[in-house]
């Protein structure tokens, strides 16, 4: 019957389109990973990960200081953004209807859409110009601004998933609101919040513009938080646009290190979700 055939076509075509689109998304990711691995894997040795960079033409250059700089700035960003973001999410969860909550939510959504270059410029004007120096501290603050909205929004979502009936049970036992939040709601949402934090860290680790404008770069080991500091994204950027093949090679190697780090963070987050779902 033609009618039946037509119905089958109508059902198969959209399904095929969706399937192909999903495949395309995966393919792009795998192509990027494959290509970076192909070009970068050869460079990676233990000394590449731990040595300081060398001038063009001098062999044995590494990315040790950039790796450390990135870790320090991302950690600093997380240190600033996580307590602030989680506390804000607790406020949103406790006062969902208040106008401050609505304003916070709106600000977080807008902030998560602001280009990272603008955030870099903001911290550059606010800190670097005022103090007259590029620093890891400024870099960490810029990354904290990047992470903050992601943490606020995911943490609020995770807190909202804690059923009202648990909170009522706790309050009906005579626990105060504060005790209920600290002893019941936050622990119950902790795994989910940790996933949000990991995703925010992964997002921040790869940001170039905010660290380029605030921490600049350096060819030395970072000694304190108040001096220009190297980072992986800036090193990749500098090396990749240089005309020298050995630097370009090292840019691929650094890119591989960065991508693997981000990938590991994402996979850990997925693992967290899987474990949590199995328990719940």
């Amino acid at each position: 019957m033609p009618d039946k055939k037509w119905r089958q076509i109508k059902s198969i075509v959209p399904e095929a389109v969706c399937c192909l689109s999903a495949l395309l998304a995966i393919t792009v990711l795998f192509l990027i990973l494959y290509y970076i691995f192909l070009r970068g894997a050869g460079v990676i040795t233990p000394s590449f990960l731990t040595a300081l960079p060398t001038p063009v033409g001098v062999p044995g250059g590494g990315i040790g200081n950039a790796l450390l700089g990135s870790l320090v700035m991302v950690a600093l960003g997380a240190l600033l953004a996580v307590p602030c973001g989680v506390a804000a999410a607790v406020y949103l969860d406790q006062n969902p209807q208040s106008s401050l909550a609505a304003a916070t939510r709106f600000a977080a959504r807008v902030l998560s859409g602001v280009p990272s270059l603008i955030i870099g410029l903001f911290v550059f004007t606010l800190l670097v110009l005022r103090t007259g120096r590029y620093s890891a501290l400024a870099g960490g603050i810029a990354l904290a601004v990047m992470m903050l909205p992601v943490i606020v929004l995911t943490a609020e979502e995770m807190l909202r998933l804690v059923p009202n009936s648990w909170r009522e049970a706790s309050l009906a036992l005579g626990a105060s609101k504060k005790q209920t939040v600290l002893r019941l709601v936050l622990p119950a949402a902790a795994a989910g919040i940790a996933v949000g934090v990991m995703l925010a860290v992964a997002l921040a680790a790869g940001q170039t513009a905010p660290v380029l404008l605030t921490a600049l770069s350096s060819v030395f080991w970072p000694e304190n938080l108040l001096q220009p500091t190297a980072s992986l994204p800036v090193l990749i950027y500098t090396y990749a646009i240089s005309p020298f093949t050995d630097w370009q090679q090292q840019a691929w190697g650094a890119a591989l290190v960065l991508v693997v780090m981000v990938l590991l963070l994402n996979m850990t987050a997925q693992l967290f979700i899987a474990v949590r779902n199995r328990r719940g």
Partner: protein, 252 residues
């Protein structure tokens, strides 16, 4: 020590909507008082006034007077945390803390209020689980999450949890609504035992249940208390035609 609960001229609004209108009721100590009435009539709200759980929700407004023992509890200065320790609540859906073990579910409350520690705490947990008729079933799996128990066991765990903070009044909001008949029977037996030491106010949709376990029954309709009286009399000869219609299934 059980305490009387006296509700006088209680009215309650949620935003613009009036949920309770001039309700007065006396729940005598060491008795079970059943609240019956169609869904949405305000029974649960009435229950939640007695431990001030309504405070959690924005837009709630209350007028009238409730006394638990000698204390007037609707005053602004009432210590709500202490009130809720003295007035325990059992919810319609069993809600043990799923991330805590059976033991911790019961031990959390006393620890929070500093009522017991160490060995004394363990003894208290055991005593409460025994009182809730759950000990024999869980004594070998106290470390397992409370969420792994059956629905009926979870509800008895909630009762043990409430017992552990030494309440004087028990509020129960359809505690058997999600349970099978056997679990229901066990909870009912438990309620009968509880009334020897506590005041119990229970909301139920099950008229047979009200008849089986309560000394006094109050019929609530559209936010008003139609009548309250000894269960044995009310079920035989209701004073109000609306109560009779409800009890005989002609309404609701």
């Amino acid at each position: 020590m059980a305490l009387d609960v006296r509700i006088e001229n209680l009215s309650f609004w949620f935003g613009r909507q009036q949920v309770l209108n001039n309700v007065s009721l006396f729940a005598r100590r060491k008795e079970v008082t059943a609240l019956i009435g169609p869904s949405g009539c305000g029974k649960t709200t009435l229950l939640r006034c007695i431990n001030r759980l309504y405070d959690l929700y924005a837009g709630a407004r209350i007028a009238g007077r409730i006394t638990v023992g000698a204390e007037s509890i609707l005053d602004a200065g009432t210590d709500r945390v202490e009130l809720r320790r003295r007035v325990g609540m059992i919810f319609q859906k069993p809600n043990p803390f799923p991330h805590l073990s059976v033991f911790e579910n019961v031990a959390g409350g006393p620890r929070l209020h500093g009522l017991a520690h160490g060995r004394a705490l363990q003894e208290r947990v055991e005593a409460c689980l025994r009182k809730a008729a759950l000990w024999e079933e869980v004594k070998d799996c106290l470390d397992r999450p409370g969420a792994l128990l059956s629905g009926g066991q979870q509800q008895r765990l909630c009762i043990a949890r409430a017992l552990a903070v030494e309440p004087e009044v028990f509020l129960m909001d359809e505690p058997c609504a999600s349970l099978d008949p056997i679990s229901t029977m066990r909870i009912e037996e438990l309620i009968k035992e509880l009334q020897e030491e506590y005041t119990v106010v229970i909301v139920t949709h099950n008229m047979q249940q009200a008849a089986r376990i309560s000394r006094q029954t109050a019929f609530v309709l559209n936010g008003e208390l139609v009548e309250a009286g000894p269960t044995a009399e009310l079920f035989v000869r209701a004073g109000d035609s609306r109560t009779e219609a409800y009890l005989t299934g002609k309404m609701g």
